[in-house]
């Protein structure tokens, strides 16, 4: 069997607070294979975002191991983590996080800038990605000119541009209405069908139902890890 995309062993994360060390993750073990579509659920404060930040190499664990496509990243230097984030991971955030002063094309092309891709191929690829999410007509518009759902599609186009193996999305539909959320989830579904591994955090059961596997956090632990019931899968 091929190396898992994500392999996490005994992962702990404590935050330093005024009241002392606060343990947000208390030993998490998880394995995510290539092509999986995982929804992470759980109550507020259970450590979902903390976990996602660690998966995204945006933060380093206090303890434990994290292997991303076979590489132990727990103690990698910052610049190597940046390269991993650039080449291997695509991020989709709740708040879209597009650069407000750059047009959509430039926003989508940004990861390629840090991958040292030349200007022309950069543009061409950005156009392709915008077309992919159905927004090529807005290439020169600023993010503020388009709707939230459209902005999230642009963010997905940006996440896809460097052909990542893994997409991490922390509450990607949190700011969207249910109809738009469905569209975004359908898009994730397509990407997953193409073989991209997807991990997303959500509070909503019907969003989680799009995933093939549901992992539930509680108080810094994983309390359940199940395949999405066939009935739920069939209904979408």
């Amino acid at each position: 069997m091929a190396e898992a995309v994500i392999r996490v062993v005994g992962l702990c994360k404590s935050y330093e607070t005024a009241a002392g060390l606060f343990p947000a993750l208390k030993g998490v073990d998880l394995m995510i294979e290539r092509g999986e579509f995982v929804a992470i659920m759980g109550p507020s404060g259970s450590g979902k975002s903390t976990f996602m930040n660690l998966l995204g190499c945006l933060d380093t664990p206090t303890m434990g191991e994290y292997h991303l496509v076979g590489r132990n990243v727990a103690h990698m230097p910052g610049d190597e983590l940046a390269i991993l984030r650039n080449r291997t991971i695509g991020f989709v955030f709740q708040g879209f996080n597009l650069l407000p002063r750059s047009n959509l094309e430039d926003n989508v092309a940004l990861p390629l800038v840090y991958a040292h891709v030349e200007r022309e191929p950069r543009r061409e690829k950005a156009r392709q990605m915008l077309a992919r999410v159905g927004l090529d007509a807005y290439a020169k518009s600023l993010p503020a000119r388009i709707s939230g759902g459209q902005q999230q599609r642009v963010a997905i186009a940006r996440a896809l541009i460097n052909s990542p193996r893994l997409i991490l999305a922390d509450e990607p539909t949190g700011n969207l209405d249910s109809h738009t959320s469905e569209e975004i989830m359908a898009l994730f579904g397509q990407l997953n069908d193409e073989g991209i591994t997807i991990v997303l955090v959500t509070h909503e059961a019907d969003i989680a139902a799009h995933a093939k596997r549901q992992v539930r956090f509680l108080d810094g632990h994983i309390v359940s890890d199940v395949a999405t019931p066939a009935r739920a899968l069939a209904s979408c």
């Binding site: 945006l58 940046a82 991020f91 940004l110 800038v113 200007r119 940006r158």
Partner: protein, 404 residues
């Protein structure tokens, strides 16, 4: 990498024009005032002093209005050739040159040019250490017999003769009188007032008085140039010249001189001092402005880093390394300071050209000072941009992403 970053820096700069413009102001003023300093005003003054001749006094004819002791005319030339000859007998006086000068039209063939015509004696060239590049100077006997010979300065020669033509032996006309050019003077450049000393024709004093200027009193001159043997001898020479002239002009104890004595070296010194003070002042303005400009840049970059914390977080999440962020903000700071520098240079050079055009002052613009200005601007950008840029690069990606 640098391409898109430069574009973004430019973009960021343009996104808040007013703020950027105000930030640049310090740089603009700083660089603008560096321009005239770099132009070596001091150098120009030192040059001029050395071309005037050393240890020189000029005695200028004044008025007799205070008492009318002499002829009753009130105003008029009070110096004459005999005065000059008497001064020449004094101790520590090396050269004395009575001169009479004025602007006259020169004609050569179909060409016209107006230049300063100096009627004087051969000691004039010695007093001013003025050498010839070709031909020879006129002599005392030329002065005695009022021959029509002339020495021509570089500028006058260039304007009357075609390049390559040797003026020596040619005949030009001054006030209808033909003069044969017997020598060409070496170049001296500007004098203290910024006038071109090479736009000159030197002819024997007697010829000048009879044929060119026409003087009411035979032998009277406007100016006598006196050279002391050394700088130390100058005060005593001034005293003895004054005493001699007062005695010769029969001026009573209680009456003012009917002449003025000007110490050219002192005039030059004070001009040099003025320029030095000006340069110091401009230098102080420039340094303070650059400092203030730099602090302004640092301040605005810090504001910008704070404002764009989220953007920095996004960039980091997407794969920007610390040095990418550092470079981006540093480039932005440098771009602000270089643009400020450019505007300062344009204003400074424009101002200098304007001063040159409407006044007698000549401000030379050197490529060196432009380079220095750019180097200074770039260093100010790097120096004051580094701290904010490092701050940006050191941000924690998660904290930055969470920033509202």
């Amino acid at each position: 990498m640098l391409g898109p970053m430069l574009g973004e820096a430019w973009h960021a700069m343009g996104s808040n024009r007013m703020r950027t413009a105000l930030t640049m102001l310090g740089m603009v003023i700083g660089v603008g005032s560096v321009v005239p300093i770099g132009q070596g005003a001091q150098y120009a003054v030192a040059q001029t002093i050395s071309t005037m001749g050393s240890n020189l006094y000029i005695v200028i004819a004044g008025s007799t209005s205070t008492g009318g002791v002499r002829t009753g005319s009130g105003f008029g030339p009070t110096l004459n050739v005999a005065d000059a000859e008497a001064i020449a007998e004094l101790d520590d006086v090396t050269h004395v040159a009575p001169t009479h000068q004025g602007t006259q039209q020169l004609v050569y063939g179909a060409k016209n040019w107006s230049a300063t015509v100096v009627g004087t004696t051969p000691s004039y060239l010695d007093a001013r250490s003025w050498t010839l590049v070709s031909g020879y100077a006129f002599s005392e006997s030329d002065v005695r017999s009022a021959t029509r010979v002339a020495l021509i300065g570089k500028t006058a020669a260039e304007n009357l003769f075609v390049p390559g033509e040797d003026p020596v032996g040619k005949t030009i006309r001054i006030r209808q009188t033909p003069f044969t050019i017997i020598g060409v003077l070496g170049a001296k450049g500007q004098n203290l007032d910024g006038r071109d000393q090479d736009d000159t024709i030197i002819i024997p004093l007697t010829t000048a008085q009879r044929k060119v200027f026409g003087v009411p009193f035979a032998g009277s001159v406007r100016v006598i140039m006196v050279q002391a043997s050394s700088a130390e001898a100058m005060p005593s020479v001034e005293k003895s010249v004054t005493a001699l002239l007062r005695q010769r002009h029969r001026i009573r104890e209680d009456m003012d001189n009917d002449f003025y004595i000007r110490n050219l070296a002192a005039a030059a010194d004070s001009a040099a001092e003025t320029t030095r003070v000006m340069s110091l002042l401009l230098g102080a303005i420039a340094s303070v402005s650059l400092l203030v400009g730099g602090i302004g840049i640092m301040n605005i970059m810090l504001v910008s880093v704070t404002e764009r914390t989220r953007e920095i977080g996004i960039r980091m999440a997407i794969g920007a390394r610390q040095k990418d962020i550092l470079t981006q903000f540093l480039l932005e700071a440098i771009m602000i300071s270089i643009t400020g520098c450019l505007i300062g240079l344009i204003l400074g050079i424009g101002g200098a050209l304007l001063v040159n055009a409407i006044t007698d002052m000549v401000i030379v613009i050197s490529g060196g000072s432009v380079l220095v200005a750019f180097a200074v601007a770039a260093s100010v950008g790097v120096f004051f941009g580094l701290y904010p840029a490092r701050k940006a690069a050191a941000l924690d990606p998660i904290e930055a992403l969470r920033y509202q």
